[in-house]
Amino acid sequence: MKLKKGSDAAVNPHEDMLKGSKLSNEKKQRKALTIVLAVICIVYVFPVLAVVVNSFKTNTAVKTNTFELPFGEMWAGFDNFIKGMTFGNYPFIESVKNSLIITLISTALIVICTSMAAWYVARVNSLFCKVIYYLCVFSMVVPFQMVMFTLSKTADNLNLNTPWTIPIIYLGFGAGLAIFMFVGFVKSIPIEIEEAAAIDGCGPIRTYFMIVFPMLRPTMISVAILEIMWIWNDYLLPYLVLDINEYRTIPIHIQYLKGSYGTVDLGATMAIILMSIIPVIVFYLICQKYIIKGVAAGAVKG
């Protein structure tokens, strides 16, 4: 890119004359900008670092010396992490397990079911399909508070209040965005490919799995990323739907600790927060490319 700009400058006579002074000036500006961004970067990482540091402190040190490094009296070591595991009358490991079950099953269910439905909707395109499609688009603008109470009662009546059954609720409430993105993509694929397969004697199920499924893969990754980010961090829906005494997810677990503020060991709480952030950051660093792509795709369409 730099090379290209250099050659352009040589072609333009005005720029050629100013080349010497302008270039060094621009270099200085770039350096200044890099430094400014680096400072913002440090400010950005600071809250996470504060959690790391405070997770090794004793309870009183977190309150009184929040921004100091844990030396001497303040050092609590790994006690906080051991304490945190059984904190709040509910084992943290169980919360992690529930969060994993809910997120993985819901995402898989959403990606498979909605992509099949979206293909049917885009290809058959009958009145019923149109109704379903526009209802889905409509559901995207409905805030959760609107259906919060009635949804939790419906889920209770249908016994959907366990981590194994709550994915059905997520499929229903999260179908909107997924259907919207999949239908948009299917419409951009020429129907002739699938018709050719159908004429050659390929049934709909085989056509879907052998031909449509591979073509949908990029959109599937985007949808999956968006759903994972939503479901993993979701607090209110599982809180209202799940049987709280038996099943908690990570956000519910942390909110319960906050509920008993003051009596709670802040050092141990920070240890729990740290343990809940680390897997997210690792996941982010591994799938960064897909996450950023998925977010851009979802935003442009939603």
């Binding site: 730099k2 352009d8 333009n12 890099t34 961004l37 680096a38 913002i40 970067c41 950005y44 990482v45 996470v48 504060a50 959690v51 309150k63 009184t64 929040t66 079911c113 439905a117 049917y120 058959v124 009958s126 009145l127 399909c129 209802l135 559901s139 995207m140 603008v141 805030p143 508070q145 609107m146 259906v147 919060m148 109470f149 009635t150 419906t154 889920a155 997520y170 229903g172 909107g176 129907i191 018709e195 159908a198 709909p204 199920i205 961090n233 607090y235 209110l236 942390i254 909110q255 906050k258 802040l266 920070m270 927060i273 809940s276 997210v280 996941f283 982010y284 977010v295 935003a299 442009v300």
Partner: protein, 327 residues
């Protein structure tokens, strides 16, 4: 092939569409445009497999609760079974509820301030990161990271930080509503700037290089290029980000609950009013307050909230459509 030949070749096709009988049109509307395709005829037989699960879950998870919610907003109820129809009384109660009106204006102010701050900062960062300086990828990675941390955890982290700072002044985030407001703004900026930045970067990268070069050759300086070329070409991204941050601001719940959960409480005309409570939290608190007597009002508030958020969403849709036509 000449143009004339092409025109005559296309003519029959066009005529066919023009002379389609109303009945055929209706049938196409009902059965879909690919009715006679060799693909869709067998596909229809698998209706239950392809469309069944999503339709069933969608009815359980959205359609039924939504309709029931609208009906219940016109009723007095504690459980659903004991609902008694009362008409629009709940809506009148909602609009005369001081805490609801307070939270409405508070939310609107919050949404607008966060909208401006987030978008200006996100655009600035995105612009800086597309200049091709060293370490752009690292910066982008760091700025986006807070998005993956959930609202509850974010609120908890920041309440620790704010209390750490404010304890030096002998106060805390739950005691002072001004701090509560700006605290939440800082939190939202920290979380959302990275997200909007990604959208702006995608928009900036889509601006054709030769357009910027043409501006440069014509003697435009950096500011002129920014205002006259870059920003007009970025309008789609700006629209998306504006509406996204506006709806995010209005729908905010987790962060509000975790950071201040509406505190401090101030008595106003004998009614306790939570000073930093936003709309979503206000609805939640009305539903699940210690006595369940106000659930009808809460559901009415929820319907009002839904209409508000949906109006913003539809305005966005209409606006983007209009833009598309112009292009």
């Amino acid at each position: 092939m000449t143009n004339d030949e092409l025109a005559t070749k296309n003519e029959p096709l066009q005529n066919e569409e023009v002379h389609e009988s109303p009945l055929a049109k209706l049938s196409r509307f009902y059965w879909g445009k690919n009715r006679k395709s060799p693909l869709t005829r067998p596909l229809r037989k698998w209706f239950i497999l392809f469309l069944g699960p999503v339709t069933a879950a969608f009815i359980i998870g959205f359609v039924w609760p939504f309709l029931q919610g609208i009906y219940l907003s016109l009723c007095n109820f504690q459980l659903i079974k004991d609902a008694k129809f009362v008409g629009f009384g709940n809506y009148i109660k909602a609009f005369t509820d001081a805490s609801f009106m307070r939270s409405f204006w508070y939310t609107a102010l919050f949404a607008i301030v966060s909208l401006l701050l987030i978008n200006i900062l996100a655009f600035a960062v995105a612009y800086a990161l597309t200049l091709g300086i060293k370490g752009s990828n690292l910066f982008r990675t760091v700025f986006f990271m807070p998005n993956l941390i959930g609202g509850i955890v974010l609120g908890y982290i920041w309440s620790m930080i704010f209390d750490g700072v404010l304890s030096a002044f002998g106060t805390s985030i739950v005691q002072n509503s001004t701090w509560g407001f700006w605290g939440l703004i800082i939190l939202m900026c920290w979380q959302q700037i990275g997200y909007m930045m990604i959208i702006y970067i995608a928009g900036l990268n889509a601006i054709p290089e030769d357009m910027l070069e043409a501006a440069k050759i014509d003697g435009a300086n950096k500011w002129q290029t920014l205002w006259r070329v870059t920003i007009p070409n970025l309008m789609p991204s700006i629209t998306i980000c504006t509406f996204l941050s506006l709806t995010n601001g209005f729908k905010l719940f987790d962060q509000n609950l975790a950071l201040t959960s509406g505190q401090p409480i101030v008595m106003q005309d004998g009614v306790p009013i939570k000073q930093t409570e936003m709309l979503a939290l206000n609805i939640y608190n009305t539903f699940y307050s210690s006595n369940n007597s106000a659930r009808g009002t809460a559901q009415a508030k929820a319907v009002i909230f839904f209409i508000l958020v949906a109006a913003i969403g539809l305005a966005q849709l209409a606006y983007t459509r209009k833009k598309e036509v112009q292009q």
